[in-house]
Amino acid sequence: MANSKVTSMREAIGSLVPDGSVVSIEGFTHLICFAAGHELIRQRKQDLTLCRLTPDVIADQLAAAGVISGLVFSWLGNPGVGSLHAVRRRIEGSDPRPLYLEEYSHFGMVARYTAGASGLPFFPLRSYRGSDLPRVNPRIVEIDDPYGGDPLYAVPPLNPDVSIVHVQRASAGGDAQVWGIPGCQKESAFAAGRVIVVCEEVVSDEVIRSDPNRTLIPGAIVDAVVVAPGGCHPSYAQGYYDRDNPFYLEWDVISRDSNLIDAWLEEWVYALDDHAAYRTKLGAERWSALSPGDAYSQPVNYGDYS
């Protein structure tokens, strides 16, 4: 295939994510690229700022491993379970180090990515009035309606140095298709200076081009394509595997004790070469339990006009 951008996670993270980078890893409830998070930990990246609406277990792992020094976010927690204890230790007790927070709401974060993706210097939204958020985050500013209506608020563009975007399928050139919850995968990709697409599977150009409306991210803005099936575990990828709920409950126990986290990171990240090893270590039985049945979309006819 011409112009293939397919590479290993090691190479992509190694060459495209220098220490100190502002990194976006989105994926709302699914398509959360734990495989990339683990590689960041494995390569002992330093001083990253993580941009993510919902820093969840992936953020707790990155915080515990000392990879991130800050969060740009709108909701942090272990969804459906409780707290991120490593993140909380850093915030509440600077234990072992402080964690810098730049805090918005979901709509504010989405609007920031949209401005960044659109080349706009700000994005207007109806939110924040009466909230303390603008008081603690001076980048959230009040603006006037030029047509004389009520004032509203603005947020600045968010342009990460690099966005890591997990998708279901991509061509070798990086054209990426997503189904299920799109979150802000598209906006975080267009907003970024560099884009790493991580996919469940590489497909031919013909598959992509058979349904061009499904393409969320064009290869033109993609720097690397990494194939990492199962790379969202313990989160899910619509149609490929389910959320591993027991893991989120286990993490609540692990995350309360920094020694347990260190042991977990050693066993599941540092001691493993790559995500393929993690996948194998999880075992066929666990993957099988997470496998959904089939539910295919009805096709549409684009028509042959040749």
């Binding site: 409830t29 942090l76 709401s105 009466g130 619509q238």
Partner: protein, 244 residues
């Protein structure tokens, strides 16, 4: 049939969805309330999730607002930009549920920190979509476990505004608060006890509220959950994940 205080909360919240066209659903109790309402007072209720799912019809009890079972068979699944812009900010949302770590007499909510923002005693999750939901949804229902720690005189942090200065008249803002003790409405922007759940006394309410809570003149006893309501509810959460 006997029932738990959580079941009372869910059943009471569901009843307030009678005639509502759509609801911005949170996971857990609000999801149960909406699902129950669909089987009782609001069969056409459209479930909308901040994850971008519109018209969900889940085949199992969803464990997150982005559960894959919410997506399969939904009417529409859209980007978060579209969901917050075209649905919420456009004013299409009839009712939204919000939870709270702290709530005050005006229905303002704190889900950000306990203690100071800069050096919090407890760092809570933060807003998520709550602040824009509080501002843009037509009506907001608050479901919360009531105690002096949650029903406070002054919030440590205002995450989502209730009936505060900028709201004009009756437009927007929370309209109903349901706790394990009773149900509240807002009278001129102040939370006012409108019904007491069966077996709950006014003193229990006063003890669980850090301010002197207003009581409606016509305060009544909440109807006990009917057998049909309880059976429908229990079938929605047979493992009692949320109905603890």
């Amino acid at each position: 049939m006997s029932f738990t205080s959580t079941e009372m909360m869910v059943v009471e919240a569901a009843r307030h969805l009678a005639g509502v066209r759509n609801c911005f659903v949170g996971i857990g109790i609000p999801n149960l309330a909406c699902s129950l309402a669909k089987r009782t007072v609001a069969p056409d209720l459209e479930l909308i999730y901040e994850s971008g799912v519109v018209g969900a019809d889940p085949a199992r009890l969803p464990l997150s607002i982005g559960d894959p079972s919410l997506v399969v068979g939904a009417r529409s699944v859209t980007s978060m930009f579209d969901l917050f812009s075209l649905y919420l900010q456009r004013g299409l949302i009839d009712v939204a549920f919000l939870g709270a770590a702290q709530v005050d007499r005006n229905g303002s909510i704190n889900t950000t920190v306990l203690g100071s923002y800069e050096k919090p005693e407890v760092r809570l999750p933060g807003s998520g979509g709550a602040v824009e939901i509080a501002i843009n949804a037509d009506r907001v229902f608050i479901i919360v476990n009531q105690s002096r720690r949650t029903f406070v005189e002054k919030l440590d942090f205002v995450t989502s505004p209730g009936h505060v200065g900028h709201r004009t008249g009756s437009v927007g803002g929370p309209t109903v608060v349901v706790t394990q003790l009773g149900t509240y409405r807002f009278v001129e922007g102040e939370m006012t006890l409108s019904s007491l759940h069966p077996g709950v006394t006014r003193d229990q309410v006063f003890d669980a509220t850090a301010w002197k809570v207003a009581v409606d003149e016509g305060v009544v006893e909440t109807d006990s959950p009917g057998q049909d309501e309880l059976l429908a509810l229990r079938s929605l959460d047979p493992d009692r994940v949320y109905l603890k």
